[in-house]
């Protein structure tokens, strides 16, 4: 049974696209056939993060408008043959998305894919609403600061009231918290909300904490999902998240400040 995962936040710039690319790649590397869809019509980015921007021919809107088939539009990743990307259109706007159109594409994907990751645009308008409307699971990406937390809270309210599952009174969307750009040193100084502070406000199942890391920027610039950078803390954090999502009991890391360096941590285990 295919599962649709929406990566959402409300606020912009918190790491939705980075997260979408990383977990889609992570799920694919675990052997699950995974599609990742960019819902940010007009502000296409996911193809850049995944490094397939020069191979885009048809896009999501073309498929919705029956100008191309799904197979024509899906781009197979060169590093992992289980990962496929459905890019957004850069020349259209979010009004090009319709409930029927998105539903049709997702239903077709569900026939052959195990996981469908929907990269939501920022905001709570049409694009974001349609990205989460058909979801089974929601990854709520939050930065440890008050405005991001409040926007996530708002998004959670929308998830529980405006999704298809809510409208049909089915089992609600499963909501997970991903805390990104976490810096334990700054938390200690009181410059950043701690995991507990965020949990206190959102009371949500914590899937993982991704530390603030130079590796994320490097990965974005080179078009390589950060999860492929095994040596980096952010890459490992995303790998942990994929494991936890798939049901493995992996202990949380990167929450407390490491006394030892990276090597000390690697050799200790």
């Amino acid at each position: 049974m295919a599962r649709i995962i929406v990566v959402t936040s409300g606020k912009g710039g918190v790491g939705k696209t980075t997260t979408s690319a990383a977990i889609a790649m992570g799920l694919a590397k675990k052997g699950h056939k995974t599609a990742v869809i960019d819902f940010d019509v007009g502000l296409r980015n996911l193809d850049l993060i995944l490094g397939c921007e020069r191979r885009v021919v048809y896009d999501f809107v073309n498929v919705i408008n029956d100008e191309a088939t799904l197979n024509q539009a899906l781009i197979k990743d060169k590093r992992c043959d289980k990962l496929f990307v459905l890019p957004a259109s850069q020349t259209r706007d979010k009004d090009a998305l319709t409930v029927e159109g998105v539903g049709k594409v997702l239903n077709e994907l569900k026939k052959t894919f195990k996981y469908i990751v929907c990269d939501s645009p920022a905001g709570i308008e049409r694009g974001a609403h349609l990205a989460m409307y058909f979801a089974d699971d929601a990854f709520v990406v939050t930065n440890p600061e008050v405005s991001s937390v409040r926007d996530s809270d708002r998004m959670l309210g929308i998830l529980s009231s405006k999704s298809q599952r809510a409208e049909k009174a089915e089992t609600p969307i499963k909501e997970y918290l991903l805390l990104t750009r976490y810096n334990p040193a700054r938390v200690k100084l009181g410059e950043m909300l701690s995991v507990d502070d965020v949990q206190d406000i959102l009371s949500l199942h914590l899937l993982g904490v991704i530390p603030e890391s130079q590796a994320v920027l490097n990965a974005s610039n080179s078009g390589t999902p950060v999860i492929l950078d095994d040596a980096s803390d952010a890459g490992q954090a995303y790998a942990d998240i994929v494991d936890r999502y798939l049901g493995e009991d992996t202990p949380h890391r990167f929450i407390d400040e490491e006394k030892k360096g990276l090597f000390g941590r690697l050799f200790r285990s």
């Binding site: 809270d153 708002r154 959670l156 309210g157 529980s160 206190d200 406000i201």
Partner: protein, 248 residues
């Protein structure tokens, strides 16, 4: 130049039906003995004659609806003290018929739970939180609402009776009830109890960090709520138009 005022005035609407809510004093009648009533009424009015002069009143017959009553005598007695009855409510069918004969409207008896509930009867918060299944709170009043999920920023909950929340209320959320509000968690948003004017409504919560609290329109914003009420169970009630916050 060639305006025809007569035509114009015909086109303008001469009247309009509208619905409006007004507050009128209610005279609860406990006896069918008009003489006794008349006597006590005069005594009462002597205390504040100006206040009662030409005041309108709704006659509530709920307490004597199964007794025989000479309604027109009763109405005369009230007229005699310069009070103007505008109708009856809560009467039996026979009493309504009598009222109709003397061209006095009959109103439906409303459930005046707000007026009837004395302060001491307001339920205190129980320590055990109800089970986390959404179902109407277990009382006779089916209009009470139980919420077991967090009320998120931007969400709004309205309860016709009491509102019980077994989770927290986020900043930017609004919980509104015609009755009391119980929150078994942190209140960071807005809570408005007794919104239809029930001054006996109360707010109970186990961690007060609210943006705004209000009872029957009397409100206080977070700036004016002391931080010392954080993380402790409190109740908020109205005492002579003043909001009182008290550690329970």
């Amino acid at each position: 130049m060639a305006t025809t005022p007569s035509l114009n005035s015909q086109n303008l609407p001469a009247f309009e039906f509208k619905s409006s809510v007004i507050t009128v004093p209610v005279l609860n009648i406990y006896t069918t003995d008009v003489n006794v009533l008349s006597l006590q009424l005069r005594e009462k009015i002597k205390q504040a004659p100006e206040f009662f002069k030409n005041s309108s009143v709704l006659i509530d017959l709920q307490n004597i609806q199964d007794q025989e009553l000479n309604l027109s005598l009763l109405v005369d007695a009230i007229h005699n003290v310069n009070i103007l009855p505008i109708g009856i409510r809560g009467g039996s069918e026979a009493q309504k018929e009598l009222a109709y004969q003397i061209q006095l409207p009959s109103f439906n008896a409303t459930s005046t739970s707000a007026e009837k509930a004395p302060v001491e009867k307001i339920p205190e918060p129980t320590v055990t939180a109800p089970s986390a299944i959404a179902e109407p709170a277990a009382t006779n009043n089916i209009e009470n609402t139980l919420i077991s999920q967090p009320v998120r920023s931007g969400q709004r909950v309205y309860a016709k009776g009491d509102l019980v929340i077994t989770s927290h209320v986020s900043a930017g959320a609004e919980v509104i009830a015609e009755g009391n509000i119980h929150i078994y968690g942190a209140l960071r948003g807005r809570a408005l109890a007794g919104v239809l004017g029930n001054e006996n409504a109360r707010i109970f919560c186990s961690d007060l960090q609210a943006e705004l609290i209000s009872i029957a329109g009397n409100y206080r914003i977070s700036e004016n709520i002391d931080d010392s009420y954080k993380k402790i169970p409190v109740q908020i009630y109205l005492n002579e138009q003043a909001l009182i916050i008290k550690n329970t």
